[in-house]
């Protein structure tokens, strides 16, 4: 089943008199269980496309379907709800709420999803373990390394059982060892738990781990390669 389906998706920014086509008529399908990367130079439209798919931004033209639902027609509150239940977001940095511990940051999603407290530990602890965070659950973000923070962000993105995880350059602030490490963990979760990932990167070592490489240039898809 298609998790993401975009048709002629465009996002045009008005920069004074000039128009910037950040995303330009993109037709893209992501299937359930994929581990795909959006690759492309800076300014090619990676963030804009991820934001459109995740309902953080609205398209100028075209449509986005997420698990069969048309996002264009949703109100802001419905989009927020879709983000809470269907999408896990990971950003480049400052993903975590600084006043909450690692555990609480992950738990926060379950709390606002309304999952009973009794189930929290059973869902959070294995995930933190899987991501190599055991023993760090009571630390605040400021007491964690950049790589550890991003792994907590992965845990938070995944804990609510979304249909897809959208990660905008999750490794950009990490040294390459941590970056590859993080990606390998994400890949393992993809394989074991069948979580769909779509992330962006311009780091070749990270791109190489992906199963599918979608290359963007000037807001258009210029290449789409699947590995076996």
């Amino acid at each position: 089943m298609d998790t993401v389906l975009t048709k002629e998706l465009s996002r045009i920014y008005q920069n004074g008199a000039a128009e910037v086509k950040a995303v330009d008529s993109v037709d893209l399908t992501i299937e359930s269980g994929e581990f795909a990367v959006l690759a492309g130079p800076s300014g090619s439209g990676k963030s804009t496309l991820l934001n459109l798919i995740g309902g953080l931004d609205r398209p100028t033209a075209g449509t986005v379907h997420l698990s069969g639902e048309l996002l264009n027609e949703k109100t802001d509150d419905e989009l927020t709800r879709a983000r809470l239940f269907k999408i896990g977001f990971i950003f480049q940095a400052y993903n975590l709420i600084p006043v909450l511990t690692a555990y609480e940051n992950v738990q926060f999603i379950l709390q606002i999803q309304g999952i009973p407290d009794s189930q929290h530990a059973d869902r959070i602890m294995p995930l933190l373990q899987e991501l190599g965070l055991d023993g760090l659950e009571h630390r605040r973000p400021s007491e964690l390394s950049g790589g550890q923070q991003q792994r907590v962000a992965v845990a938070r993105a995944i804990v609510g059982r979304p249909s897809i995880i959208l990660a905008d350059e999750p490794t950009a602030n990490l040294d390459s060892e941590s970056a590859v490490n993080l990606l390998n963990m994400m890949h393992r979760l993809n394989l074991e738990q069948k979580v769909t990932f779509l992330f962006s990167s311009h780091d070749q070592r990270v791109i190489d781990i992906a199963q599918r490489i979608i290359s963007l240039r000037d807001g258009k898809i210029c290449d789409d390669i699947r590995k076996n």
Partner: protein, 411 residues
């Protein structure tokens, strides 16, 4: 619980800012609530002294007397006394006559006001008839008919001293000129010029006989045990007086109108000051809350991105304001209680600043014990919480306007 917990931790992210805000909120509350307790204490004191020097908490008069004060506007003691019989909560009943007269000594003469009083009754309650005000001789006893208690200035003007004679001339109730002979029994110094230069106290019965009716009164002043009972007594006595011709009852607010007005003006000014201060607190709180919102722009973007709707974001900030306001109000109430306890128990002596204060021909001692205005204290504290909540409206709206996609581009 989740939101309060998160809000609480958010408050302490910027310790200094939160402490400053708490100080502003609790400091302002303490200031106004404590001042209110002191002000009400001073009003209480003014009223209590005024009713003792003046016409009591409530007083009986001939209906025209409070406005015109003519000698012939009298009533009979026997008309009024039955109305007070069996009434509980009464501390003192003071019958009085006021007669303007000409006083003549062997050396000089002066226009004066004669007060016919029951000395033994007055001594117990009237601050003017205290031995501390006596500079020579004594306050006459009730059973002495011929002794007068006179102001020091008057004694000087008439050039008389203890034991000297003075003759007073006045119109009696039928309009005839009458005269009486008194000896100076005591001389007082009240500090109020008008009293010291033109007042003499004499035995009421002897003066009433001089007027031609032993039972005549111009005033029957009633002191209550508690001012709280005044409305009840006033209502009942007004009802009873309606059926008696030539007798009316008045409250202290009517007979000491100048004092009542002075208090009203003072408390209105104070309310205005509270209003201004609360506006200042609002402005300060808006600014500091706004700063904390703008600093967290990216975080609000993140919260929106991971699925918090506007309602929840608004609620989170409201919780922060609520905690801030409540904590500030609590600290303010505790501080007010501590300060008020001190000023209630020990009193504050403003006489160093103001000396004794003369208001409307009466002299007030400036040692003030604050009262406990619990209604005001909690009202002001609740108003402070509301002020902080109101101050959060604009910052909340600002936070809700943050577009998540844009906010996430910031670092």
């Amino acid at each position: 619980m989740l939101w309060l917990n998160l809000a609480w931790r958010n408050l302490w992210r910027n310790r200094t800012r939160t402490l400053v805000l708490l100080l502003v909120i609790s400091g302002s509350l303490t200031f106004v609530a404590w001042m209110q307790n002191i002000a009400c204490g001073s009003y209480d004191k003014m009223i209590e002294e005024a009713v003792r020097m003046g016409s009591g908490h409530l007083s009986f008069h001939h209906p025209g007397y409070p406005a015109e004060r003519l000698t012939e506007q009298y009533f009979l003691r026997s008309q009024a006394m039955p109305l007070l019989a069996g009434r509980t909560g009464i501390a003192a009943i003071l019958p009085r006559l006021y007669v303007s007269a000409l006083a003549r000594s062997s050396r000089d003469n002066r226009a004066i006001m004669m007060l016919g009083v029951d000395f033994d009754l007055e001594k117990q309650v009237n601050p003017l008839l205290k031995e501390t005000k006596t500079v020579a001789g004594h306050i006459p006893a009730s059973d002495t008919q011929k002794l007068a208690y006179i102001g020091i200035k008057l004694a000087e003007n008439l050039r008389i001293d203890i034991g000297n004679k003075l003759v007073v001339m006045f119109q009696d109730l039928s309009g005839e000129i009458n005269s009486k002979l008194y000896r100076v029994g005591g001389i007082f110094k009240s500090g109020v010029t008008q009293l010291d230069s033109s007042t003499i106290f004499v035995n009421r019965i002897s003066l009433a006989e001089g007027l031609g009716n032993r039972d005549a009164l111009h005033e029957l002043a009633v002191l209550l045990d508690s001012r709280d009972d005044l409305p009840k007594h006033l209502r009942q006595l007004k009802g009873a007086c309606a059926e008696i011709h030539g007798l009316s009852v008045y409250s202290w607010e009517e007979t000491s109108k100048q004092i009542a007005d002075a208090i009203k003006i003072d408390s209105t000014q104070f309310k205005f000051m509270i209003f201004l201060l609360y506006i200042l607190v609002t402005v300060g709180t808006v600014n500091l809350l706004l700063m904390s919102i703008i600093e967290r722009t990216r975080e609000f973007g993140l919260l929106r991105a991971i699925g918090l709707d506007k309602r929840r974001i608004g609620w989170l900030i409201t919780c922060e304001a609520l905690l801030l306001g409540s904590l500030g109000a609590l600290i303010g109430l505790v501080a007010t209680t501590v300060l008020s306890f001190y000023s209630w128990h020990y009193g504050i002596d403003f006489s160093a600043m103001f000396g004794e204060a003369e208001v409307a021909g009466m002299l007030f001692d400036m040692r003030i014990n604050s009262s406990w205005e619990w209604g005001w204290m909690f009202g002001l504290a609740a108003a402070m919480i509301i002020v902080v909540l109101l101050a959060s409206i604009y910052p909340v709206r600002k936070a809700l306007r943050i577009a998540p996609a844009e906010a996430m581009k910031r670092h």
